[in-house]
Amino acid sequence: MKYEEFGDNESLELLKDSGTNVFLTTIDDVINWGRKNSLWPLTFATSCCGIEMMQTGAPKHDFARFGMEVYRASPRQADVIVVAGTIVKKMAPVLKRLYDQMSEPKYVVAMGACTITGGPFFRDSYTIVRGVDQIIPVDVYVPGCPPRPQALLYGMLQLQRLIETQTIKSRKKRNASHNYK
């Protein structure tokens, strides 16, 4: 997707975390360019959204085009965790541990209705975690049940834009503000 085709680039530019510091902005630009173009996702899928995520990685939609090159089987090597599928209370500690094991900088994409609010299991369920943002900090929400590969791709591109606005300084601040138990 071309840079001009996103709707609100001007406001995003204004929201850059490093502000107008010329020196820091230049370093950030270089670092962010590297980070956003080599986003390696973690192989983590708990239900049907996972199938859609595999399809996004498969040749037809092929998100390697955008630098989400390979699925990593180990959280140590992954940059982004796409939470694809229902997280139940029993799964929550596992997800939290996976997130903790990922090395900085790390990003979270909540894919599908289940991970955003609990989705179809919201009502009358004794097992569901109503939104993964109760456990780990989420950067991008991709709604849908499950989202089409195009939607996930768009979400990942939005994540790249998010990374562009970040600075090496604010990463620490952000993590400190997300002190989840």
Binding site: K90, F122, R123, D124, S125, Y126
Partner: protein
């Protein structure tokens, strides 16, 4: 054997059985004390030979807790439904049939996990899905503050 004949035959196996023709299968209601001996006979008698336990379903009827067994014979192809219930909610206990059908092991653990029905002589009665701090979520009087209902 067809359903009617099956019902008549099973009636002769126990003293306190209630036989009813359901829409699809013959339904036998048996008191918990006779459950194990009836199951043993159904499994071993040459006339019935129910060698396949299709499923065990736990039910919360209200005050009563009950179990429904679907049995099938792979030799004759006939099926029967066995029902048993207990009115004791505090310590509901029925005899395990896992010594007769190996498949009952996990089915009974599931019933124990979700409804809290205990099984006497079960070899390994641990919780199956949930951890020990959980209640028995499929009971009608289960209370959990996390559940959202409207």
């Amino acid at each position: 054997m067809d359903n009617i004949k099956l019902g008549e035959f099973i009636k002769s196996l126990g003293s306190d059985l209630d036989i009813k023709e359901g829409k699809q299968f013959t339904e036998v209601t048996v008191p918990p004390s006779e459950l194990h001996s009836l199951a043993r006979q159904l499994r071993e008698r040459e006339e019935t030979l129910f060698d396949f336990l299709v499923s065990i379903t736990g039910v919360d009827y209200g005050p009563d807790l009950g179990l429904i067994y679907h049995l099938r014979s792979t030799k004759y192809g006939h099926t029967v439904v066995i029902k048993s219930r207990t009115s004791d909610r505090e310590h509901p206990q029925l005899d395990s049939v896992s010594d007769i059908w190996e498949a009952a092991d996990l089915h009974e653990r599931e019933a124990f996990d979700l409804l809290g029905i205990k099984f006497a002589n079960h070899p390994d009665l641990r919780r199956l899905f949930l951890n020990s701090s959980w209640g028995f979520p499929l009971r009608k009087d289960y209370i959990d503050d996390d559940i959202i209902t409207w």
